[in-house]
């Protein structure tokens, strides 16, 4: 059981959290965007082995935040509210 630090609630069990995808996967802007770019946005993932930057949601408080963690050792490096405040 991993402990994830919610920037608002502190360390909580992993079962309270839901994965929200890669951080920084910005939605392409504009209607004229080529289809490949849309496919990239929708499907392609960095899926790093090691340090990853991800969006998570703490389902108990409902807040989204960015968490940096290691996908091999499961060490949590940082977690920050989306606006940047409330670093935990």
């Amino acid at each position: 059981m991993q402990l994830f630090p919610c920037p608002f609630c502190g360390p909580r069990d992993e079962t309270e959290f839901h994965y929200g995808g890669d951080a920084g996967n910005a939605r392409p802007d504009g209607a004229g965007m080529p289809i490949d770019r849309w496919a990239d946005y929708l499907y392609l993932r960095t899926n790093p082995k090691g340090t990853a930057r991800e969006i998570w949601v703490h389902m108990n408080c409902g807040e989204f935040f960015v968490m940096e963690r290691d996908t091999v050792t499961h060490t949590v490096l940082s977690s920050t509210a989306l606006g940047g405040e409330h670093a935990a």
């Binding site: 059981m1 991993q2 402990l3 992993e14 050792t73 499961h74």
Partner: protein, 787 residues
């Protein structure tokens, strides 16, 4: 082997409370405090089971969790449990134990003949044969031979297992000298300590090894320390195994109870962990080293001191290290005739009193059929014996450290892997860290808790004789004569490992999977290290170059029920229930789950199809109130499946006067084409008025994945919308619109069976053998041809 109970002694047993249980049909006597194994030994039972593959006789090897041999199915006065280790299971009155993998009994197993064919069925033989004509021809027989214990098919769960979440500053795993010292020091530093130990009584080796701590006998010191910790409100859990370290140092504990309750699962989140898990004694390699009557030397000492069981009269103790000397001395003192055979020529401790010491010799083989009758030394000397004790050195119990991804370091001096680089939050102390003397153990314990804070307690001091760690490694050697067994439960010999090496299965993980070495229920606690040392010898590598297999939880098998806990039935997967459920039930409703909701499928027990059909008919004649609105009641139409299917109506009978039918419902009933019940249908005499409960097809329910349900429930779900729009309007407006409801399953969950092609599904079913002609379409294979 003529083992017997001594007239006095035994720190663990209570001679005033005799108990009786049965093993393979025979009655076994013991005392409270006995394990099944100690009582069997006291009763001079040598053969307690059969091995997995060759059905060789199996005797008791150890006195703890490492036991590879003595597995029994237990039942009777305790809940049935297959494959229970006799060495850790307390003996209880009325318990019924049955040897595993043996028919009819361990002593006379009818599959024992397999051992004579063992040369033709070596490790992994099954990959090389049974291909022609087909594996399916052979599999049933082989499958029937597999497995150890038997599942009791009449078993019912006594109750659900408890699960406890627990937090503490320090978790100490193992209550031997290192664990007790660490707990004591941490307690002095003001920390909350949890101390767990897998034995029935804390103390570890202090319970049977002679030593002196702070001027008192070790056993007294350990009892005092436990009492001290308990008085300071620390949690002490005996009979509890730490079976796994998971992410972020969550530790899983399995606590066994003696009163028949299911085991308890503890999830402990400590700030710091001290692993004081001790070490496990290894066997020595010699031919027939698996015969019943061949035991771990340390276990024999434990049985002597704790249970007053002398394991034999004429005992050979074979060793390559200093630790067996104390065993030999104690057994001689207890009245046995002891021959001590030490592999080492020099550097041995002083010869114990009344013990014949043979230096520089190893055992070549053990003799006997169903139990050991003597040994042959490597110079050809034969020594008669009814029990052979072996001590091949100690394997530190570093499983938990390995699970926590700790790196291991090979120690030539100890001939074992020790914990290497430290892991955050985990310290290893005592024999698990390679300490031998009590002074080393206590120093290690002091270091392990030093980082946690200043302690007011003095580090315990060893004031008696100190154990020494002299050892000359004795690994199984390639090219040895005879059948030298490495994995006792899975029947893996030196020759099997050689075969694996010959066939290029030299990686330690390949070795494990190819020969099944270390894959038995003991997970190789006694066999892994000898096996990989042998592989190192065969391939000309060092032991650390060969490496270990990955340590995986659980350390010892944990009941599945512990993991499930209270998550049984609806607590495992909750269902949503209707407010009117009790009314439906009172009217004989049979419920089904529809998309997470429990709803009535039909009324009345018995055949579901029939009930549904009957009900549909009843629905067509729902009483005076409805009949009034049925303009076609005299036409005598017979209800047909196609019509019935159109009803979006569920009915339930309530008292006529209490709930008059609302007007809108009459209207809908008419619009729906309600019809009078056919003449002659049952129930007319006791007819009552009926309230029709309409299905809810509103968008909210459909979008939420809910099956349509009674309006009354819907009314409670959406009170404000309901009020705003009015029932009739709402129903009219919210007819099924989503594709899901209107398309493939328009009436899912209503009072009718789903149908395909106009027939209910059970009639659509196609039976009989599959048709290979249709399945093996050759043209598909053709376009794979290279040309």
């Amino acid at each position: 082997m003529t083992a017997s109970r001594l007239a006095t002694g035994g720190s663990a047993i209570d001679r005033s409370r005799a108990i009786r249980f049965s093993f393979d049909g025979a009655t076994v006597h013991g005392f409270a405090g006995d394990t099944i194994a100690s009582a069997l030994l006291a009763g001079n039972v040598a053969v307690v089971g059969r091995s997995f593959k060759y059905h060789r006789p199996r005797g008791i090897w150890g006195a703890g969790v490492e036991e590879p041999n003595a597995l029994v199915d237990i039942g009777g006065s305790v809940p049935a449990t297959p494959n229970t280790r006799a060495t850790t299971e307390p003996a209880r009155d009325g318990l019924v134990a049955k040897s595993v993998n043996a028919t009819p009994s361990a002593l006379a197993d009818r599959n024992a003949f397999l051992d004579r064919f063992s040369r033709f069925i070596p490790a992994a033989f099954y990959y090389k044969t049974f291909m022609w004509p087909d594996w399916h021809m052979f599999e049933p027989r082989i499958r029937a031979m597999a497995g150890l214990g038997k599942v009791d098919t009449d078993w019912t769960s006594p109750s659900t297992a408890d699960q406890i979440n627990h937090h503490c500053d320090l978790l100490v795993v193992g209550a031997g000298p290192a664990g007790l010292a660490a707990a004591k020091l941490a307690s002095g530093a003001g920390l909350s300590v949890t101390l767990v130990d897998d034995q029935l009584r804390p103390g570890g080796s202090l319970g049977h090894r002679t030593s002196e701590i702070d001027g008192r006998p070790a056993a007294v010191w350990s009892e005092e320390t436990v009492a001290e910790l308990a008085a300071a409100s620390h949690l002490i859990l005996p009979s509890t195994t730490a079976f796994g370290i998971y992410d972020h140092n969550l530790v899983g504990l399995n606590q066994r109870h003696r009163d028949g309750r299911p085991d308890t699962l503890w999830r402990v989140r400590p700030r710091q962990i001290v692993l004081a898990t001790g070490a496990i004694e290894r066997p020595l390699p010699f031919a027939n080293n698996d015969l019943p009557g061949i035991m771990s030397a340390d276990a024999a000492l434990a049985y002597l001191r704790r249970h007053a069981v002398l394991v034999g009269r004429r005992i050979v103790v074979a060793t390559n290290n200093d630790n067996a000397y104390e065993v030999a001395e104690a057994l001689a003192e207890a009245g046995a005739e002891v021959t001590l055979v030490d592999l080492r020529r020099d550097g041995t401790p002083a010869t114990p009193a009344n013990v014949r010491l043979v230096k520089g010799r190893a055992l070549a083989s053990a003799n006997g059929k169903l139990r050991v009758e003597g040994v042959t030394l490597d110079d050809g000397t034969r020594v008669d014996a009814d029990c052979v004790l072996v001590s091949g050195g100690w394997t530190p119990t570093i499983h938990l450290f390995g699970q926590a991804k700790g790196k291991l370091a090979w120690s030539e001096a100890r001939a074992a892997f020790l914990p290497g680089d430290p892991v955050d939050g985990i310290a290893v102390a005592g024999a698990a860290a390679g300490a031998v003397s009590l002074s080393e153990v206590f120093a290690g314990a002091g270091k392990a808790v030093a980082s946690l804070g200043q302690t007011t307690t003095a580090v315990p001091r060893s004031t008696g004789a100190e154990a020494t760690g002299g050892i000359l490694a004795a690994w199984p050697m390639p090219g040895s004569k005879g059948r030298i067994w490495i994995d006792y439960q899975n029947d893996v010999t030196v020759k099997d490992v050689e075969l694996a090496a010959r066939e290029n299965f030299v990686s330690v993980e390949h070795l494990k999977r190819y020969t099944t070495l270390g894959m038995a229920t003991d997970q190789g606690k006694t066999s892994n290290l000898p096996g990989l040392a042998l592989m190192a010898g065969i391939t000309g590598r060092t032991v650390p170059e060969v490496g270990t297999t990955t340590y995986r939880p659980p350390f010892t098998p944990v009941p599945l029920a512990s993991f499930a806990g209270a998550r049984v039935g609806e607590l495992m997967a909750p269902v949503r229930r209707l407010p009117l459920e009790s009314v439906h039930r009172a009217n004989g409703a049979v419920f089904q789950e529809y998309g997470g909701w429990l709803r009535p499928a039909h009324y009345g027990g018995g055949d579901a199809e029939r009930s549904i059909a009957d009900e549909a008919r009843r629905g067509a004649s729902v009483g005076r109130a409805v009949r009034r609105f049925d303009s076609r009641q005299d036409r005598g139409d017979r209800t047909k499946g196609g019509r019935i299917r159109r009803f979006h109506l569920l009915q339930h009978h309530v008292d006529a006067e209490a709930r008059p039918l609302p007007l809108w419902l009459h209207a809908v009933g008419k619009w729906r084409g309600l019809r009078r019940r056919r003449a002659g249908a049952p129930g007319r005499a006791s007819f009552r008025r009926v309230v029709l409960v309409l299905a809810c097809h509103c968008r909210a329910c459909a979008a939420g994945g809910m099956a349509p349900g009674p309006l009354r429930a819907w009314r409670r779900l959406h009170p404000q919308r309901h009020r705003r729009n009015g029932d009739a309007d709402r129903f009219g407006a919210e007819r099924p619109e989503t594709a899901r409801n209107a398309g493939s399953r328009p009436l899912a969950g209503r009072c009718r069976p789903p149908a395909y092609g106009g027939r209910p599904w059970h009639l659509c079913r196609r039976r009989g053998p599959h048709r290979p002609r249709q399945l093996h379409r050759r043209q598909e294979l053709r376009n794979l041809d290279p040309g």
